[in-house]
Symmetry: C3
Subunit: 471 residues, 3 copies
């Protein structure tokens, strides 16, 4: 009897103990799984491109990776998850990508970010009012514009079109907490709140030299949401003084150097252009604020069915956002990248060096394919040095806006086509690398593509002709 009782007690305790143990075990398993997920696609694939990193992880982000910060009937603002994969954190982990969609005549409440904002107008037109350095500037923005808004500027804006949506893609550079930014609304109510609501009554009363009821009514009693709809008349009023040069609003005294203003990306002289596509770029040379951020912004418009020649950047990491069309991208990632961590851990454990050296030897010099279907809203990170390409689908042109982070002294290196860097291999090197017999074939292959940068795509090859016409 006593035994049974004790056993019952034991059973109870045991269940408790087991639960606790399992809880930890579970946590562990989860971590393990999470880790594996982060590394997925990197293991089995040793052949050539047959299988590829599923979904392009961790370099590709689809719609599901965005989170809505604000959604009203008149628009929404969504922010991409942090770039916190080990492979990305060091190069782009401090930045965030966000998208804003504003309905016709939508008005966005005044607010400031603790982040610099670099934005591209994907679609539509609007008015943007920026309060900073003690004054107001009012800008008319339209499709194709790039603009930098320095951190801490108070901004309000509106879609000035009667029927078209205004769509904006932005990169944010947080200044207070790397990789994390916040929005601050001076005027609010239920949602958003006013940041004044966080101050005590006495402080507000003294700060405004007004009765607290009045302050509250004005700053905290508004029932407008982050994004709501203004009347046509109100929009007209608001956009009356807007300009392209930031000289509106009766303000003055801003030096040329400090000037912020929208710059039309498609109006820039194209860096490259042919029937397969064109590329426009705004660099730090044209815009001091981009220079301060060590950043450049470019757009690649790839004609439907065409492709960008495989290329890599020497220093910049590109954050690319698809703003039009669909297609796919492919990138070569050194296989070591995802096994090296593990290998380095093993290295510290008791594996014999001999064994490891050989293993390493086998592992170290392979590349896995990272590939994903992309469409409007897809985000792709292209790290420096990694060869990659975009291919436009057959339904329409593919347009990709690229924020180049760490762009000073950067160079884009093309690997096929008229400006392929491989054409610079000298004769003795070719003989060495390809062999006496292979050299001729190499010359033929390296020289066969006569277009540069933008090329006929896989589906166009048969028509586009060249040496494959005999296929």
């Amino acid at each position: 009897m006593k035994t049974v009782a004790r056993s019952s007690l034991l059973a109870l305790a045991l269940v408790l103990s087991l639960c606790l143990s399992l809880a930890f075990a579970w946590r562990d398993v989860e971590e393990e799984v999470g880790w594996r997920r982060g590394q997925e696609g990197g293991r089995e694939e040793w052949g050539k491109g047959q299988s590829s990193s599923e979904g392009g992880r961790p370099y590709h982000f689809g719609e599901e990776s965005f989170r809505e910060w604000a959604r009203t009937r008149h628009g929404h603002f969504k922010v991409l998850e942090r770039f916190d994969d080990e492979l990305l954190r060091g190069s782009v982990g401090d930045y965030r990508v966000a998208c804003l969609d504003a309905a016709p005549r939508a008005f966005l409440q005044p607010s400031h970010y603790d982040a610099d904002e670099i934005f591209y107008v994907k679609e539509g037109e609007g008015v943007l009012v920026v309060l900073r350095k003690g004054r107001r500037e009012s800008f008319c923005v339209r499709e194709g514009d790039v603009m930098v808004i320095p951190a801490g500027s108070i901004v309000y804006s509106a879609n000035t079109h009667r029927s078209k949506w205004l769509r904006v893609v932005m990169l944010l550079n947080p200044v207070a907490t790397p990789g994390s930014f916040e929005e601050f609304f001076p005027v609010g109510g239920e949602g958003p709140n006013s940041f004044f609501s966080a101050f005590s009554d006495q402080v507000l009363q003294a700060a405004f030299n007004s009765r607290r009821e009045e302050v509250e009514k004005v700053f905290e009693g508004q029932r407008k949401r982050e994004i709501w709809q203004a009347s046509e008349e109100q929009i007209r009023e608001l956009s009356r003084s807007c300009s392209r040069g930031g000289r509106g609003g009766g303000s003055s005294g801003s030096s040329k150097e400090e000037e912020i203003k929208p710059r039309s990306l498609p109006s820039q002289k194209p860096l490259y252009s042919n029937k397969h596509g064109r590329m426009h770029m705004i660099t730090g040379d044209e815009c001091r604020h981009l220079r301060d951020l060590d950043m450049e912004v470019g757009i690649a418009n790839i004609t439907r069915g065409s492709m960008l020649a495989p290329r890599y950047t020497t220093r910049a990491t590109k954050i690319a956002v698809v703003v039009e069309g669909s297609g796919y991208f492919e990138m070569a990632c050194p296989h070591k990248t995802d096994s090296s961590r593990r290998a380095e851990r093993q290295e510290r454990s008791e594996h014999s060096r001999e064994e490891e050296g050989e293993q390493q030897q086998k592992k170290s010099r392979g590349y896995r394919q990272v590939r994903a279907q992309i469409k409007e809203g897809s985000v792709i990170v292209l790290p420096a040095g990694h060869p990659a390409t975009f291919v436009a689908g057959n339904e329409g042109n593919l347009a990709v806006i690229c924020f180049g982070v760490g762009s000073s002294n950067d160079e884009e290196v093309f690997l096929t086509g008229g400006n392929s860097l491989l054409k610079q291999l000298d004769a003795p090197a070719k003989t060495l690398v390809f062999g006496e017999q292979g050299r001729e074939a190499a010359d033929r292959v390296i020289g066969a593509q006569t277009e540069s940068v933008f090329l006929a795509g896989p589906q166009q090859q048969q028509r586009g002709g060249g040496s494959v016409s005999d296929m």
Copy 2:
């Protein structure tokens, strides 16, 4: 019987197992608690300022957050814990705050730091000798001085006053290990040791070309502590050649550009000044060493009972140290800041997106109040973009020294008063934001405070007059 025995064994094993389980559970709970503590105050508070972040965590640090590195009868040197909260690490985590208090005629042994030192003389006067670039410079410093001592300089100093303490507040910028610095004493004994004690006898003997006994006696046999007291005569001798321009000591050849010297903060033309307070600032324009550190140093002297208008910085994060008086500070922190981490974690688990979107919607745009009583020695971190204010107590003026980290292109934005940026809202925006009816009230509230930057405080309102006189 057998059963009983086995059960006993089981019981023993079970106890063991439970202990282990609990050990982990406990660790987990602790972590959880630690985490909660770091986030404390951020959850319950949804009303307006009724409850607030207890103690201002993690932005406020009281006396208990300092650790004594050296304490003798003649002074002490204490260092603030690292800024290692997730919310601070990225902006100010590389820096350390420290305070030195030296009794009358205290002498501080020669030493160097592996950190740049930016200091402010809070009280008293002293002589400071800096050995660097192969030469010696001797400076007289006094209350209100700011000075930068480049990392690696060998420094010794003394309180030159007969009866007053010398008190110094300093910010340290470690150059070897971010957020961590060390002090190196060439001469020592029991405490501090000489760093020469870490070298072997043979090395020391050869390095000094002297017998090891002699080297030991000279460098390692001194019984002086880090801080001890010199005679009046010795202090007089030491301060004989000190100057304000760093030209003492018979040295020469330093370019203007490289010059280090004390700069009197109160002697700078005030940036703002009225009966409620004044602000002085030294920036990189005046001091190359500050410019190299991307830093500026300012002091806000707030008249007793007065306040600083709610304001934020656009880029710089301010590390503020109260050097005189008492009062309190309030800051608005986006509520998301402390829930977002959790939300982002949840995001990865199986919560339905719908639900989350809504939750997020409700959460994302609130602000919590961070507030704390402050007094001499309190340290407050004000991140870029976060609206905050200081209010002086009624016992005396409140003086706050502010180290602005990341200050290039920074702007201070005031939110109430004569220079409130909100005054720049244009007429159509006001109508949109406050409504046709509310606009007049908004104009009244925004215009009611005619003072700028320094304002009558909560307790002065009744007297100070304005629209609250009818209260």
Copy 3:
């Protein structure tokens, strides 16, 4: 019976539970041990140099810390483990050290890194062809040369000597992922692969405008390894157009500013030189690429049996690699460094502050000796501010190449010898620090060493003479 059955079940469950618990316990113990290992040598040693940090951890790395990335019969390329100890990560954690050894007439396949490469030719001679900015430059390099190859450049090279090995030491500055870099081969086969192998057949075919079989044969069908041997004739061909100024290869148009070229370190005017050694340095003033990297490269040649005077750098952290000879180094590390972490953790637990203050007091100002035997291939990290010395063995000269990271405004401070900064102590300070009685002895010891920078070593003292001759 029932009881027994239940107990059996219990026993089973218990074993399971225990196993799980122990699994976690074990993980914990491992972590603990790992941590201790990282901190080893830092605890027991309180005496003067009797015992020291075993093996110089974590500042010293021997051969076993390298990992082979490629090894063929004709050479190998090995990379040092990451600097991921907490004490190093912040200063040098972004960099990697690597060594290349190439047999006579070895040829290295074309490839690019996602890292800047700063290299020093330790031994031998070679030809180096760099493809970048759309053109080719061909350089003859030889023993003693330093050169910077910007990230993303495609490089191929060969040992041009018939019988001598070419040995190169390099520092890599990863641009995509801090502390981690990859090599990208355009042409390959079994090992290395070509990065083109990661692209799909359709993409390759379109990109090259060639049949996929041809592309595959040319780029992915080569059976050459990373390092193989060329014929004398091929080497001659390859090096025909190489130059010292980078003007070979028929290219043009590179501005002086952008120029990359080998610079002979021993041909630089020595910074210091005497019979005990000499030091040469290339700084950002001579090479824009080094300036961009905030780096300088120097070599210390210490005569056999001689030593470098104990010194520290004010800002730069030095990564030193022994390129010739053997000997040892000693460095003084503040003991706090390795106990502070623990102390800071304890600080948060319930230790009484009183107790801790005292503990701290005792602990904070000691230094431990870090010391290790070094030989060709040893890597030593010397953090800013830490006094350290090198002593050459008696078998031959000791040559150490030093990469100075974070070198702008850096100064090297010597602590003994003719240019000891301690000589700048003024008379009153000496009286204060050493006492009236001790001052004379101090002057004698500080003045006894008349050589500067490079000194007679421990074994030479008796002969070299000076005040120790009476020993």
